[in-house]
């Protein structure tokens, strides 16, 4: 309508709008040009001459174009509505108060950063229950904190305090911060944007740490890839994570991860950039060149915030195919910040991780170190000798390690000829700890508190014994919940088990991941209706809240209807003088349904082990006969995850 008249009453057609719209728009007040100062000078002839340039009224335009005034008003209005963009006032938010408009510095709204579809998919995966969010924020568990923010804070308040120690080189917080800003600028130039996943396959080197922090600063999501993974595993992760970039070595033993990923680009549409650390790789960007960039202009790239996605991990897959586990800064950093004092880690500590940073337990050592303002020592890759040598040379005060690492140290007698006296805290995690191993380690390190930690990719540090706990507790249990963490042990019907009764361990709390990425089926299977995470681990909790992990629900063997958890038997077998590591899995049986099959690796010097010899040993230990292994397979090498957990899914029983 115009002046109460409709389009039909005015005789307006779309062709008329198209034909006259631009002319009316130009002739009207929308574009004004004045020459000289004719109105002030009352130069009437000049005013008349410039009338069209100054902008005509609708009536004047109507006369010039042979339209009615109502038609002109209608068409002008329509043209303005179609041309005018709304939302332009948003520019005002960047102006004034000392901030001056600079045309060359203003990015049009439509060209400003927007999350990609893949980044939004990752963000959507952070789907927490609102009542839990409210509780975690109110309790102070979740704060607006990021890892790069922590480093920046330390760089300001204690710039020269050591942050990273790698052999002869020690980097202070200021230096580490600057290195990360340089690489962040390079990565940004290489196309890495906020919210995008970037796969990183690097050993525990300064380059990994700087990459991790640079990605954090950009708001990108680090997707760690375990070092042993080869092309097929990597492609699977790159495909599922939709990573836009891969950061890896130019050359590793017998292959080039960077070159392999370049070859995948044809099949992975999202993978835009391959960044190679080491020698140049044709088609890949040089990590060293990116890291030599001028530091990121921090005003140009917004800092991430606590609720942003932080890392996307893939489960180590002891039982099934990898699943994407997204974590926010909230989940991981709250767990680390609250955990550091529990572990009695202070700003004076130096923490060494034998676990790879591509695993959450390894990253946990970094998070704990930087939560406390401590330093992280680096062991590029675990071998028993390398670990012993690193402890002796770097003199860490804290050691993050797995039972398999310690077992290997013991097997090779490395504690006897290396100096481990700097250690005052050991955290053992990654798989069930044989009690005798914990006791042995504690005996060897009398000035050190040996503790256990139980966690998963989905939780980071959920349970741990504290440094003040007696060795009887530290050797026999995974400890008590970390601050804010809730655990419960339930029977198959979902009822809570009493003290000492075995059931499935379930976890809830501010540390818990929100659910698997794009895997509703797995999420339905792994979360209870009230939001607890079914860990799949069997456990019992004593009256002091300490939890003993007793096995995996999927490891339970059903022998003719009699179910048993083989974990106790494995512990006994591990104590056999010839056995280095054992794992019992069910083997199909036409009569009983399942029987127990034991896989072992032998200690150096042990030539063979027969089933009869093993059974005799176990019977001597008073084991129930129905739990005895009925087949024995001696392996040269046990299939292990990067954190030295046995991959039972690969232990296939053959006839």
């Amino acid at each position: 309508m115009a002046r109460g008249l409709t389009r039909e009453q005015l005789g307006i057609t779309e062709s008329m709008v198209a034909a006259f719209g631009p002319t009316i728009f130009r002739m009207s007040h929308n574009l004004q040009v004045r020459t000289g100062d004719p109105v002030r000078l009352l130069e009437f002839e000049e005013i008349e001459r410039q009338r069209e340039d100054m902008g005509l009224s609708d009536g004047e335009i109507a006369v010039r174009l042979g339209l009615t005034r109502g038609q002109v008003m209608f068409i002008r209005n329509l043209e303005e509505s179609r041309r005018f963009k709304t939302g332009r006032q948003a520019y005002l938010l960047d102006l004034g108060g000392g901030r001056r408009f600079r045309h060359e510095k203003v990015t049009p709204l439509e060209n400003r950063f927007r999350y990609s579809e893949d980044a939004l998919r990752l963000r959507a995966a952070l789907s927490f229950r609102p009542e839990l969010v409210e509780r975690y924020v109110a309790a102070g568990y979740w704060r607006d904190e990021t890892l790069s923010g922590w480093i920046a804070q330390h760089a300001t308040t204690r710039p020269d305090a050591p942050a990273l120690s790698a052999g002869s080189e020690t980097l202070g917080y200021r230096g580490l911060h600057e290195h990360s800003l340089r690489l962040a600028a390079g990565l940004e130039r290489a196309g890495v944007r906020r919210g995008e996943a970037v796969a990183v396959q690097l050993p525990n080197t300064p380059e990994f740490v700087v990459t991790y922090l640079a990605l954090c600063r950009l708001g990108a999501v680090t997707c760690p890839v375990h070092m042993p993974y080869r092309a097929a595993d990597i492609e699977s992760i790159l495909s599922h994570s939709r990573a836009v970039a891969f950061v890896g070595l130019s050359g590793a033993a017998e292959w080039s991860p960077a070159a392999a990923c370049l070859e995948m680009r044809g099949r992975l549409a999202r993978l835009q950039t391959v960044i190679a650390l080491g020698a140049p790789v044709a088609g890949a960007q040089s990590w060293q060149e990116l890291a030599a960039s001028a530091p990121l202009d921090e005003r140009e790239v917004a800092m991430p915030v606590g609720s942003d996605p932080f890392v996307l991990l893939y489960t180590s897959g002891t039982t099934a195919a990898p699943k994407g586990v997204p974590h926010s800064y909230h989940t991981l950093l709250s767990n680390a910040r609250l955990g550091a004092p529990e572990h009695r880690v202070t700003g004076k500590d130096l923490l060494l991780s034998a676990a790879p940073f591509t695993h959450l337990f390894g990253l946990y050592s970094l998070h704990i170190a930087w939560a406390a303002g401590a330093a992280a020592a680096l062991l590029p890759a675990f071998t028993p000798a390398a670990l012993a040598e690193a402890v002796q040379r770097l003199r860490p005060t804290g050691l993050w390690t797995a039972p398999a690492h310690v077992a290997a140290l013991r097997a090779q007698g490395l504690l006897d000829n290396h100096d481990f006296s700097s250690l005052r805290l050991v955290i053992m995690s990654g798989s069930a700890c044989p009690p005798d191993l914990v006791c042995w380690f504690a005996d060897k390190l009398p000035a050190c508190r040996v503790t256990q930690l139980w966690g998963m990719t989905e939780t980071q540090g959920a349970l741990y014994t504290r440094p003040g706990d007696a060795i009887e507790v530290a050797s026999s249990s995974a400890g008590r919940p970390s601050p804010g963490t809730e655990v419960r042990v339930v029977d198959p019907a979902g009822n809570r088990c009493g003290p000492g009764v075995e059931g499935e361990l379930q976890v809830c709390g501010p540390l818990l991941f929100p659910g698997f990425l794009d895997n509703p089926e797995a999420n339905r299977a792994t979360f209870t209706e009230d939001g607890w995470y079914r860990t799949g681990d069997l456990a019992s909790q004593d009256s002091t809240a300490n939890v003993r992990i007793t096995g995996r629900t999927k490891d339970v063997i059903n022998r003719g209807g009699v179910k048993f958890n083989p974990r106790d038997v494995e512990d006994l077998i591990d104590s056999h003088p010839k056995v280095l590591q054992s794992a019992i899995v069910p083997m199909p049986d036409p009569i009983l349904g399942e029987r127990a099959c034991c896989f072992v690796t032998l200690r150096p010097g042990a030539a063979t082990l027969e089933l009869d010899e093993l059974v005799a040993y176990l019977l001597d230990k008073k084991i129930t006969k129905t739990k005895l292994p009925e087949k024995l397979v001696v392996l040269k090498e046990m299939p292990l995850t990067p954190t030295r957990k046995v991959i039972k899914g690969r232990l296939v029983v053959t006839s």
Binding site: M1, A2, R3, G4, R7, F25, H29, N30, L31, Q32, V33, R34, T35, G36, D37, V39, R40, L41, L42, F44, I47, R51, G55, L56, S57, D58, G59, E60, M73, F74, R76, N77, L78, E80, S81, R83, F84, K85, T86, G87, R88, Q89, Y91, L92, L93, L95, G96, G97, G98, R99, R100, F101, H103, V106
Partner: protein, 303 residues
Amino acid sequence: MQPMNGAEAKARIVEYCKRRGALAVGVADLSALERIAPAGYRPSDLMPRVKSVISLGVGGQTQGTWQLPAKAMAYSGSTETRAYGVAYGCAFFIEKEFGAPSVYVPPDLDPEGGPRVPLQSLKLHAEVAGIGARSLAGDILLHPEFGFMYYASVFTELELPSDAPLAENPCPAPSCVNMYRSVGRTPCMKFCPAQCLNGEVDENGRQKVMRYDMAACAEFTQEYEAVPKILAEAVGAEARASGAEGLLDPDRKMLWYKVSAGSGGWFAQCFECMRVCPIATRAPQADPILRSEHGQAGSKQAG
């Protein structure tokens, strides 16, 4: 009621307005306005027996105001409403004192004229009345003493002697001329966030050409289309095709304007051109605080 000549009446009206807060008051040459304004927007189109058009200006921002971020600038003065208040009182004053029918000119859009068309050009009244001159900043009026003001008008059947337009245009200021000669732009052109200002300064340091893209400026400052556009976007394409565009027709857009102007959030100025204008910010009496001190000093001297 005492008969009074036009000059005396004008003096009393000016005194009234200034006492109520007007900084500058002038009477425009009615015949000039009738020639310049387009048909439908002449004073006589609104008030057939008008004899005089009084224009007054109020305003001024404190120095602190110019430090505000742009999002807050528009709300820091509310000077236009003060101008309207003075003009409103002035119309009553004339009727009471001189018995001449008078009207405060509504500073609103013309419902018959459609969006962005005012009932009258208050700017034209002020310019012809000699209390402002067009600037390179989109023809915003500036005054050499008071800088940037808001204007209001009163139409009256009382015949008053008219004033001449300003003899000199304060825009561009000497510093702006220097900048133009150095970089080809004046501060207002350079810092306009919509880049809607352009122009040229001649060899004498005077305005040669002023170019103003009001459409670009309006996108920033007069978003009363936003609400109907949001509504139109909210409905599906099918609904839009069958008439949701009617939300934006001229009559309804006028209503959106009324709603938006009332809320304030969708209808403002960005003020960036005035923030960098030396006349708006540093004219001798542009700052109300300095003005007040000046006035007090004057009173003391007089006493």
